[in-house]
């Protein structure tokens, strides 16, 4: 699953950049059992960071309460057309994924 890229859209309006991210992740809580009764091991995003160029604009700690394939939207001041927005996450298995998009 970690191979699936995030979908990121960033748009600037009146000096405020709105970023929308759709993350592709299983987000298993570790509380669910499969058909044979064995517990499905927990697998979820623990940390997420969003950067505007090299400046960190959002840092978040995720947990098991976050849904599968989470959707995230946030705004920050500054940012101009063509600037880079980078979002990266790390999950409890140590896997990471980083994707970027240009501000439109």
């Amino acid at each position: 699953m970690a191979a699936n890229p995030m979908k990121i859209r960033a748009s600037n309006k009146d000096g405020v950049t709105e970023v929308k991210v759709l993350i592709s992740h299983e987000m298993e809580t570790g509380q669910r059992k499969d058909a044979s009764g064995a517990i499905v091991p927990a697998w979820f995003i623990t940390e997420l960071t969003a950067k505007h160029n090299d400046r960190v604009v959002l840092g978040a700690e995720f947990g098991t309460a976050v849904s599968k394939n989470p959707y995230l939207a946030f705004r920050f001041k500054g940012g101009a057309k063509g600037d880079k927005v980078t979002v990266s996450w790390k999950d409890n298995k140590g896997e990471t994924r980083t994707d970027e998009a240009a501000i439109a």
Partner: protein, 351 residues
């Protein structure tokens, strides 16, 4: 409807020489439809792509259009569950290969989406062209529909980001639809002979069997027990939940069900204007649909003397945040006089 339109078309083809043929039974009433009228009305797109207009559109253009016209209700990625069930999601690369969405039968899906269910791409095209955007249906040009569809296909990871969808390659895309083998036609609702005799239906055998009882009939069925009123809401208001069985949104169990809508026939001129202008797609008179009900608006603004001018400006420019996160689209295409009439009508109780 499609069968009906076919017969009309056939009549139109013979219409030139036998113009009175179809109307022999109704002498002096009406006239045959002109070819232009039939063309404007006959917009359906069929699974064999009959009726598909020529045109093309790419993913980038589709993204612009989607942001502008669709995202306010469907979400930027077609993921939103707030107004309608999501458009995109729940399909895998494997589904695209097999043509059956596995999540539908395995129960893995938290919720069904348009692309987990729809078997034919033509249906999506037809629907967007016919019914979207909700406030201004049939306003999209064929190229726009192609572009929006290309963007949705890209979101569903069926086509790459540099894809251009056109009437030439839409048949190729059909072969990639995740649930393309998911439709069964072995039901009485489908017309024609059974599939093994070359038709698409089952020969008209009904799905249910309801034989009229003529003797020794059972007495009328009585409901033995019902959930008491105080327990109806035991699991919260079902209308506000997403359910995996039955209708996606359940019945309103909160106990304050809105009063029934007045019949559409007995409408005032302002009500007709509201219907014509697309207001009623999102606003009810007494209850919230997507946006607030007109009586809720009236209750909130009734003591504010400047409400009329403020609301006219707001309806015109669109807005978001006062009644929740779902935005109202701008309505600058309506004349100011109409806007004022509508706002006055709403503030006077929408009767």
């Amino acid at each position: 409807m499609s069968r009906f339109s076919k017969s009309i078309l056939v009549l139109a083809l013979f219409g030139a020489s036998t113009a009175t043929f179809a109307f022999d039974n109704y002498k002096g009433i009406g006239r045959p439809a002109t070819p232009a009228e039939i063309k404007a009305w006959d917009i359906d797109v069929r699974p064999d792509f009959k009726g598909l207009p020529k045109g093309s559109g790419n993913v980038d253009r589709g993204q612009e259009l989607f942001e502008e016209k669709c995202a306010s209700c469907h979400g930027t990625f077609g993921e939103s569950n707030e107004v309608f069930t999501p458009l995109i999601g729940g399909t895998t690369k494997d589904d695209i290969k097999t043509g059956r969405v596995k999540g539908l039968s395995s129960g893995e899906l938290p919720q069904r989406t348009t692309f987990t269910k729809v078997a034919t791409i033509s249906t999506v095209f037809d629907y967007i062209q016919r019914a979207m955007p909700w406030t201004a249906p049939k306003s999209l040009k064929p190229d726009d529909v192609y572009a929006i569809l290309a963007y949705m296909l890209n979101l569903a990871e069926i086509v790459p980001a540099d894809f251009t969808l056109s009437d030439k390659n839409i048949a190729e895309v059909q072969k990639l639809m995740p649930n393309r083998y998911g439709m069964t036609t072995d039901h009485g609702m489908w017309p024609g002979a059974p599939a093994k005799k070359g038709g698409i239906g089952n020969g008209g055998i009904p799905d249910v069997k309801n034989v009229a009882c003529m003797k020794n009939c059972k007495p009328e069925a009585k409901i033995g027990s019902t959930l008491p009123d105080y327990a109806r809401n035991a699991h919260g208001n079902l209308a506000e939940q997403t359910r995996s069985v039955g209708p996606v949104r359940g019945v309103n169990t909160s106990g304050d069900a809105p009063a029934a809508q007045p019949a559409a026939g007995a409408a005032s001129p302002a009500m007709e204007l509201a219907q014509k202008s697309g207001c009623m797609a999102c606003h009810g008179v007494n209850n919230k649909i997507v946006g607030p009900g007109f009586n809720e608006i009236q209750a909130r603004y009734k003591d504010q003397p400047d409400a009329e001018t403020r609301l006219v400006a707001k309806v015109k420019a669109g807005g978001q945040g006062v009644w929740g996160a779902i935005p109202m689209p701008p309505n600058s295409h309506l004349p100011d006089a109409d806007l004022t009439t509508l706002v006055k009508w709403i503030l006077s109780g929408a009767k």
